[in-house]
Symmetry: C2
Subunit: 318 residues, 2 copies
């Protein structure tokens, strides 16, 4: 019997693309493609598998037959923290190697824009002002990657390949990671970690443990020229503390793609800071062609009753 799979994305074109790619690769499934709550709600009751992201409110409450959710993005906090999540469900997500190559380029760009002072050039250009300045070299700079999971490890390797010295920070002790000189572990090593860095790149997910870890005292431990780059999740940052640290010159600046609340409210002090660059959550876009491979492989495993790859531990949240 065919497995009933509901595909959901609020972007109709994207939802259709997942449908096309999966239909071409999988025979023993019956797909329903939805991009609105009206389309999704009638189908969720019978769906055994749900694939997609940005699920509409109330969807999971009506899931009666659901055994497996595959989130096509890297972040899963919305599903993990959904009170209606059936606790017996299997939850998987896209692997970092499918998403990280696009995030790498955001991070490299953020670092080079800082050392090359491109924002300064663009401000000068608005005034037709020709005024020289010294361009520093990113090669040899110390970049700390907070969150050395599958995405962080890939980013770390790319930074090392371009001549930067890379440090890592993570929750628990682990084997070494290629390209990372030293991995700091746990909350007690967070300040020593950030204090050694010229750039701090957060790839941290939202979990109970990462909430607000970038606090006033952590920013105070950073070098005054250090730049904070966030491509993980906004919840790991105390945004008022960050705005204050930049304003008072405690740190050198920030390049931020993710925020506690998205869209970032117009009232946020971050918008107006010259040393802060804000992008609207565009790093690491999830491209159907990049990420369907894992699902297709897992679908075969699911049908065969085998263990799924990249399953989330619902207790830890990642």
């Amino acid at each position: 019997m065919a497995t009933k799979v509901l595909i959901f994305s609020p972007n109709g074109q994207e939802a259709c693309r997942y449908g096309e790619l999966l239909h071409a690769a999988i025979d023993d499934a019956e797909f329903t493609v939805a991009s609105t709550a009206e389309e999704a709600l009638p189908a969720i009751g019978e769906a055994e598998v749900l694939l997609g992201w940005k699920f509409p409110a109330g969807l999971l409450a009506r899931a009666k037959a659901l055994c497996w959710i595959h989130k096509v993005s890297a972040g899963v906090e919305d599903v993990v923290f959904d009170p209606d999540l059936p606790r017996s469900v299997h939850l998987t997500r896209s692997e970092g190697v499918a998403i990280a190559p696009r995030m790498i380029e955001y991070v490299l760009c953020a670092i080079y824009m800082t050392t090359q002072q491109f924002p300064r050039a663009m401000r000068q250009q608005q005034r037709k002002l020709w005024s020289s300045y010294f361009v520093d070299k990113a090669e040899g700079k110390i970049v700390g990657v907070a969150g050395v999971g599958d995405i962080g490890s890939v980013i770390a390797r790319a930074l090392a390949k371009n001549g930067m010295r890379v440090l890592g920070w993570r929750r628990s002790r682990t084997a070494g990671v290629a390209g990372i000189e030293r991995i700091f572990v746990g909350h007690e090593e967070l300040k020593p970690f950030v204090s050694a860095c010229d750039f701090v790149v957060s790839v941290l997910p939202t979990t109970a443990e990462t909430k607000g870890v970038f606090s006033t005292s952590v920013f105070a431990a950073m070098k005054s020229h250090a730049v904070f780059i966030n491509v993980g999740r906004g919840a790991s940052v105390d945004e008022n503390a960050l705005a204050d640290a930049v304003t008072r010159g405690v740190i050198g600046g920030a390049v931020l793609d993710v925020f506690c609340e998205e869209p970032l409210p117009a009232t946020s002090p971050l918008w107006g800071l010259q040393r802060v660059i804000i992008t609207p959550h565009v790093s690491g876009p999830v491209v159907p062609e990049d990420v369907v491979g894992l699902f297709i492989d897992n679908f075969r495993r699911y049908r065969a009753g085998e263990r799924l790859h990249r399953e989330i531990d619902l207790q830890r949240g990642y």
Copy 2:
């Protein structure tokens, strides 16, 4: 007998730094450090060797004993085209490997800023506007490097290392260069070269042959989304043709560090174009510590009557 060496830079601090570094490494020379015409003119008559850049007008006309000029920068057109240059003088310049590592980061930044749409994000930020857009991947894009000399080759390798496909263009046929898929040769292959590229990076020096090679018809041969990046010399570009090509959407945009006239005049149409980024000739800064090594080695050769490394062919101009 000690060789009389005149060190000149219009930046006094930089001139002193060259003096310190060379004094520490060379015994058999007598150094004069100058940063103004008033300081330099009395010393040039007896100087056998001149090291530095941005020499004051009329300096070479008073050189009576000069045998060797070492320009610390990569560009030498000001000296080559100086009518007072003693034709028997040896002219050397800094090697690309000493300067290119800093230029690489400018070029990578220019490419990533384009694919990541950072200028758009910064314009949106000024209006506190949160509006998403798709971020393209630079990996896999085709980047053409015009001018595959010592600097261009190093830049090409860095681009290839970051997953870009690299094409090259140069004056004459040559051996292959690591990281470059194909090298186009001569003026007749310039249009096929640019038409294949998503980005065209010019590293061309100013010579009689490179003047205005980036003309209306060459821009017309480029892809309409292609971005032109210039870290070579402004003289290789017809700037009115470039401004016109960007304005009319013939090409996608430009990131320019060098111009026909520097500072770029306030009347230039380039200043006001949204798809053009202007930087004030800051890529590839010449850092004394990076570049004195070659001079120190050449000085020993000079004293021993040996052939100098990196000597310029005054006919070709590079």
